[in-house]
């Protein structure tokens, strides 16, 4: 099933404004979904008979542009052997996205990583704390505007 068919199934259930299809790009086409709707739409994508996206290959954070961060979801269906890429774009000053860790449990740690390195806050996540960096780390290192700290616990950081 290709992305336009998936979109038409989604459009029959959800409001049209919450989902946008991007095709005019050199890479594979993807859907842009509103941050507040990602949980409901993900649940539908997993449980709908014709879609059955039972596997989340990857969830990544992206510093999208000057004002926005993004979360990229790569889904795969082992039943139907089709895949789908979804992006959720959120403003940097309020980077809140609904969690999908209740739908695909594997995203628990993926979301913690995106929170750790990009500062994206996943609402309703069961255990949202840093996963790689120390708990007392300041800032989100993979953001383009990240400034390396001079000292960490008395240790000079720069070369």
């Amino acid at each position: 099933m290709d992305i336009s068919e998936i979109l038409s199934i989604l459009n029959s259930v959800f409001e049209k404004e919450t989902i946008e299809l991007k095709t005019d790009i050199p890479v594979e086409p993807f859907l842009i979904i509103a941050p507040s709707k990602i949980n409901a739409i993900s649940l539908f994508l997993r449980d709908e008979e014709r879609l059955q996206f039972d596997f989340l290959s990857s969830l990544s954070g992206v510093d999208y542009d000057e004002e926005n961060l993004a979360v990229v979801y790569n889904l795969y269906s082992f039943v139907h052997k089709h895949k789908l890429m979804i992006k959720v774009i959120v403003p940097k000053n309020e980077p809140n996205v609904k969690t999908v860790s209740n739908i695909w449990t594997t995203t628990d740690w993926h979301e913690r990583e995106a929170y750790d390195l990009f500062g994206i806050v996943f609402e309703d996540h069961p255990d949202l704390r840093r996963i790689l960096l120390p708990d007392d780390w300041e800032g989100y290192p993979l953001r383009k505007d990240y400034k390396v700290q001079e000292f960490y616990k008395g240790m000079k950081v720069r070369y």
Binding site: L133, P134, P141, Q149, K153, M155, R158, Y159
Partner: protein, 169 residues
């Protein structure tokens, strides 16, 4: 007997064969350099080379170097890999837990100076010598087992030249 071969000209042997005389420095140094027990501890890819060096092909055991599972029983700590700032606090704690006399080998570019992370590694300590004193630096990325062995032999030579008496300045 090993000590007779290693203590060279300073050893005097009596005819009965049961008494030998040497300086305290020579005896202590001989004991220390012949049993440099290393802490069973690795950080990154250098640790793979270190494990290969400890295995049968290169056989660290023939130098009296055996891995110990506790810092309390260790004489040498080999910093084998990238020291992240998160790990640096643990490395310092492990070093502090070791009893004196203790020695530090910095293995590979990362622990010498930050290695490939020297410029953009926001999370990497640029050289383990910023938190603990290093006795021998081994270059390489990662160093071959031969390089690690040479570093350990250099450390043995360093121990051989030590003295328990304080130098008069």
């Amino acid at each position: 007997m090993g000590i007779l071969n290693k203590l060279d000209s300073k050893v005097e042997q009596f005819e009965s064969g049961n008494i030998i005389i040497t300086s305290a420095d020579k005896l202590l140094n001989w004991a220390r350099l012949s049993s440099m027990w290393q802490m069973s501890f690795g950080l990154a890819c250098c640790a793979i080379e270190m494990m290969a060096t400890a295995a049968s092909h290169y056989d660290l055991d023939r130098f009296g170097i055996i891995p110990r599972p506790s810092p309390r029983q260790s004489d040498v700590i080999i910093i084998s890999g990238t020291v992240t700032l998160k790990m640096a606090t643990r490395v310092k704690k492990l070093y502090d837990q070791m009893p004196d006399p203790k020695y530090v080998l910095s293995m590979g570019s990362c622990s010498n100076c930050g290695g490939p992370y020297w410029e953009h590694g926001y999370h990497v300590l640029k050289g383990v010598d910023r938190i603990i004193p290093v006795d021998v630096y081994i270059p390489g990325c990662p160093p071959r087992p031969e390089a690690l062995l040479e570093g350990l032999i250099h450390l043995q030579e360093k121990i051989r030249s030590q003295s328990i008496a304080k130098k008069v300045s």
